[in-house]
């Protein structure tokens, strides 16, 4: 866009004229504006990704780092991981965790969105909408420790409540129970992240015009039919986005595992991120840890690509 003659040139324009530069070309301006961000991203994301790749191809120990001796070992770290049954168990647990979490999150999220969106209890709905972000805002590590406390097998609140409701006749173990440990973390994690899904579904539901429902009611459609033929198709794209996003997110769970089970009992709650953390920072096998982290990144990349394909395909249809 050409700069036309002005009555009062802006301060910047005057400055530039004085300096003799004129206005910066848009291309240069864009570059300058983006430069700090690019520097940060290069330093904190791009460089580490490449460095992690490099680390994963070398044998990296603390001793080696100090001496500067980091022998190249090719794909040895990767083969260590692939031959480690704990790695595959961790991936399996991750899959279990993600599957359960996302299924619950989406179901619960949609249900809650429908409930608070319902005009028949507007006051309650408004209250819940105002409170909805509370769990989302809780620091994940605090969330984990809070649930750990609730799960205490000797005097924790969950046991007390279940006992009082007559659902159990003896206090149970949750976080320390091999059968329930993973699910315990699922519940804690899900409590914190469901509001995000509620938010997205709620926004999507708001976008559905009331008349569609009214017309359907006139035609005699019941609640279930209305959901099946109106609500669901129109929020399908949101549903797809939520599914994919939340899957990637659930795959990266760490804080809650740390606080509630620390991978236990045994290795029952070892998940992908925990495996990586243990090898990199606990056993100090940094090369192996980097390789495991790369495997994690690969899974997330697959999920992300799905996300991109899904979103762009959906948007085109919409």
């Amino acid at each position: 866009m050409e700069r036309t003659e002005a009555f009062r040139p802006s301060l910047w324009a005057r400055l530039r004229t004085w300096v003799g530069k004129g206005e910066i070309r848009p291309g240069l301006l864009a570059f300058l504006l983006v430069l700090p961000a690019i520097l940060f991203l290069l330093a904190i994301i791009a460089y580490p990704i490449l460095y992690a790749l490099w680390l994963s191809l070398h044998e990296v120990t603390l001793k080696g780092l100090a001496k500067g001796e980091l022998p190249f070992v090719g794909l040895k770290n990767y083969s260590i991981i692939f031959r480690d049954p704990v790695f595959w168990r961790s991936m399996l647990h991750s899959a279990e965790f993600v599957g359960t979490t996302v299924a619950l999150e989406v179901t619960l999220g949609l249900s809650i969105a429908l409930i608070i969106n319902d005009a028949r209890a507007r006051a309650f709905g408004t209250l819940n909408k105002a409170l909805m972000l509370l769990p989302w805002a809780v620091p994940p590590i605090a969330n984990g420790l809070m649930w750990f406390y609730i799960y205490n097998p000797s005097f924790g609140y969950l046991n007390v409540i279940l006992y009082k409701l007559g659902l159990i006749d003896q206090f149970m173990q949750f976080a320390g129970n091999p059968k329930l440990a993973l699910f315990s973390v699922v519940v804690a994690f899900m409590w914190r992240v469901t509001p995000f899904s509620v938010l997205l579904f709620h926004a999507a539901l708001q976008g559905i015009p009331e008349d569609l429902y009214d017309a359907a009611k006139v035609d005699g459609a019941g609640a279930l039919a209305r959901f099946r033929f109106i609500t669901f198709p129109l929020i399908r794209s949101t549903l797809a986005i939520v599914l994919v996003l939340r899957t990637a997110f659930a795959f990266m769970v760490f804080d809650e595992i740390f606080a509630i089970t620390a991978g236990g009992p045994g290795d029952r709650t070892w998940v992908a991120s925990w495996y990586t953390y243990q090898h990199a920072f606990s056993y100090l096998e940094i090369g192996v840890g980097a390789a495991a982290a790369y495997m994690m990144a690969l899974v997330i990349a697959i999920i992300t690509v799905t996300y991109v394909l899904v979103v762009y395909r959906r948007v085109e249809y919409a």
Partner: protein, 298 residues
């Protein structure tokens, strides 16, 4: 006929209202239980554990944490206290510094980049946007291993600076994404008008776009602040000295078997989550808009 319709409607409303109450319980329940734990003494917590609502409440746990009143707990349990809780004020300050600085940096750097993408549409800005999007999906674990080694070499371990730089870089893609969608949604005519008046592009950025996008900046700012406050893994790996711990790491160190003081821990967790929760609830509209902008395309 009308009467049965009305009765059915009433039942419906009751059912939905009940459902809403369940939702409220779901949201508030766990935190309320935490609160119950925080307002009791260690003794009353364990003594009458079958009573959910305690008969005696006390604020002594908060006094200990916030006022450093060590004299309150003078019994043998005192020796088993997690000593770190007496550093709470300092830790809280660390969190404040980290979250504020990260937010300011993010908004500064992020808004410039977002403007470039949204308005100064060059051939490569689209590419940058996609790169940015991809960066959001990189799991933190992949970054922490090499970053740890790098920070160690740069002697930035155990510093607030190291945490701030890492956190800023990590959250930047998200910030840029949110902001560019806000900027893109602003009507172009206003900027055109400014340019006709002789404003440079950068000038119109400063004078027109930024002020108009205050809600967007607010949204991004609040979200970044909350996410920085809540961040655990980065400072946990980077720091081992209590002086530079932020609140989440303090909470993590309460996860030990050597010094377990349940009531104090509950109070600590409560104090730890209050800032984020308060911000999110008070500025809920901003957060919601930011989250929605950040999740969907535009």
């Amino acid at each position: 006929m009308a009467r049965t319709v009305r009765r059915r409607l009433r039942l419906d409303s009751i059912a939905i209202s009940l459902a809403n109450v369940l939702v409220t319980l779901f949201i508030l329940g766990p935190v309320f239980l935490l609160f119950l734990g925080a307002i009791q003494t260690e003794k009353s917590l364990v003594e009458d554990y079958m009573r959910l609502i305690p008969t005696q409440v006390t604020l002594q746990n908060f006094e200990v944490i916030l006022l450093g009143r060590e004299d309150i707990l003078h019994d043998t349990g005192f020796y088993h206290l997690p000593r770190i809780i007496f550093e709470f004020k300092r830790v809280f300050l660390n969190s404040l510094i980290i979250a504020t600085t990260t937010t300011v940096l993010n908004l500064l750097v992020g808004s410039m980049a977002a403007y470039a993408i949204a308005r100064l549409r060059q051939r490569w800005t689209q590419g940058f946007m996609y790169t940015n999007l991809a960066s959001r999906m990189v799991p933190l674990m992949v970054l922490m291993v090499p970053l740890f080694v790098t920070l160690r070499t740069l002697k930035l371990l155990n510093t607030l600076v190291g945490v701030i730089i890492t956190l800023t870089g990590f959250l930047l893609p998200y910030t840029i994404w949110i902001l560019q969608s806000f900027f893109a949604s602003l009507p172009e005519e206003l900027e055109d008008a400014a340019r006709i008046d002789g404003c440079t592009r950068f000038g119109s950025f400063l004078r027109v776009v930024l002020p108009l996008s205050a809600p967007g900046m607010g949204a991004a700012g609040v979200i970044v602040f909350i996410l920085s406050w809540n961040e655990f893994l980065i400072p946990f790996i980077v720091n081992t000295k209590a002086e530079v711990y932020p609140v989440p790491v303090l909470i993590a160190t309460l996860v030990t078997d050597y010094h377990v003081y349940y009531s104090l821990v509950c109070a600590c967790i409560l104090m730890g989550l209050l800032p984020s929760v308060a911000l999110a609830l008070l500025l809920q509209r901003y957060v919601t808009r930011g989250l929605l902008a950040g999740a969907l395309k535009g």
